[in-house]
Symmetry: C2
Subunit: 174 residues, 2 copies
């Protein structure tokens, strides 16, 4: 089963929407709406005391401020690990001495191509980069166990943040 683009609907800043025709296993065809997305990288950043660095910003899809791990969209040709490191410097002002890949995931594979590469960052040293002009981000430092409790209590509700924290909890037995 493969898809073929039959119509471009919209091309914007983040969202590029097209209609694709797919062939179903019974030989019939169906139209699927598909958001074409450049992909992203996201980082669980831990300090020496196993506190995790989270950012808090308004998210229009949730219509509220959300706690999230630092993340950003891949620039053209940018390797995901470079993107992860750059976003960490832009959003929380640290460079990771150690960056371990945790694989990645599709947030909504039914209608977007977005794939988020996940990393664990440690050995942080101060090295700020300029933020994007329209980002207003508040940084918080939370004990790792408390961040896990925030998932249970429904206070952390962003997919990349939940997956990043739970993957790191298993990997480091936290």
């Amino acid at each position: 089963m493969t898809g073929q683009r039959v119509r471009q609907i919209y091309s914007g800043r983040v969202v590029h929407l097209a209609l694709h025709e797919i062939q179903l296993p019974d030989g019939s065809t169906a139209i699927r709406e598909l958001i074409e997305h450049a992909g992203a990288a996201a980082v669980v950043a831990l300090d020496e005391a196993n506190h995790v660095l989270l950012v808090r910003q308004f998210r229009i899809g949730a219509h509220q401020h959300l706690y999230e791990i630092p993340a950003g969209i891949l620039e053209a040709g940018e390797p995901p690990a470079s993107c992860a490191s750059r976003e960490l410097q832009e959003e929380i002002g640290y460079f990771p001495g150690r960056l371990d890949a945790l694989g990645g995931f599709y947030p909504t594979p039914g209608y977007t191509t977005e794939y988020i590469h996940l990393y664990l960052a440690r050995d942080l040293s101060p090295a700020p980069l300029q933020q994007d002009h329209d980002e207003f981000i508040e940084v918080t430092r939370i004990p790792f166990g408390e961040a896990l409790a925030m998932i249970e209590r429904g206070e952390i509700v962003d997919s990349k943040t939940i997956i990043g924290l739970l993957r790191v909890a298993r990997r480091l037995s936290l």
Copy 2:
């Protein structure tokens, strides 16, 4: 900070795209692309032997067949728990004697309103419902520990499936 719809771009089967104007903390405004989505429910279904029931289907966003927990979009006015139960019957043919809410999450709050309600289903009894005509779904039954290993190996890459399995792993100490 709030958003206001300034232009409707497209209204389709799953995806409804609009442009929203938001006011930033510094008083300036910015345009954000927003997918308006009805929301969904997804279910980690465990049998008596702690095998998890996964479905496998082609996903155009990932351009491959993915392993996923059963899930579906909320119908108008449908409570999420009813949707979870209905999708379980449609996709894997079981009714859950016990259904525990695990909260939920936003897969991509930066550009869609989609919120996925998660459930843990147990005490399963056979009770099939007719599948949607254009769904071609293969059901597999996998030991819970093996499903967790598939996340580590990058063989399960769907957000709701990863979050559902890792939340249940912590809750049931599996």
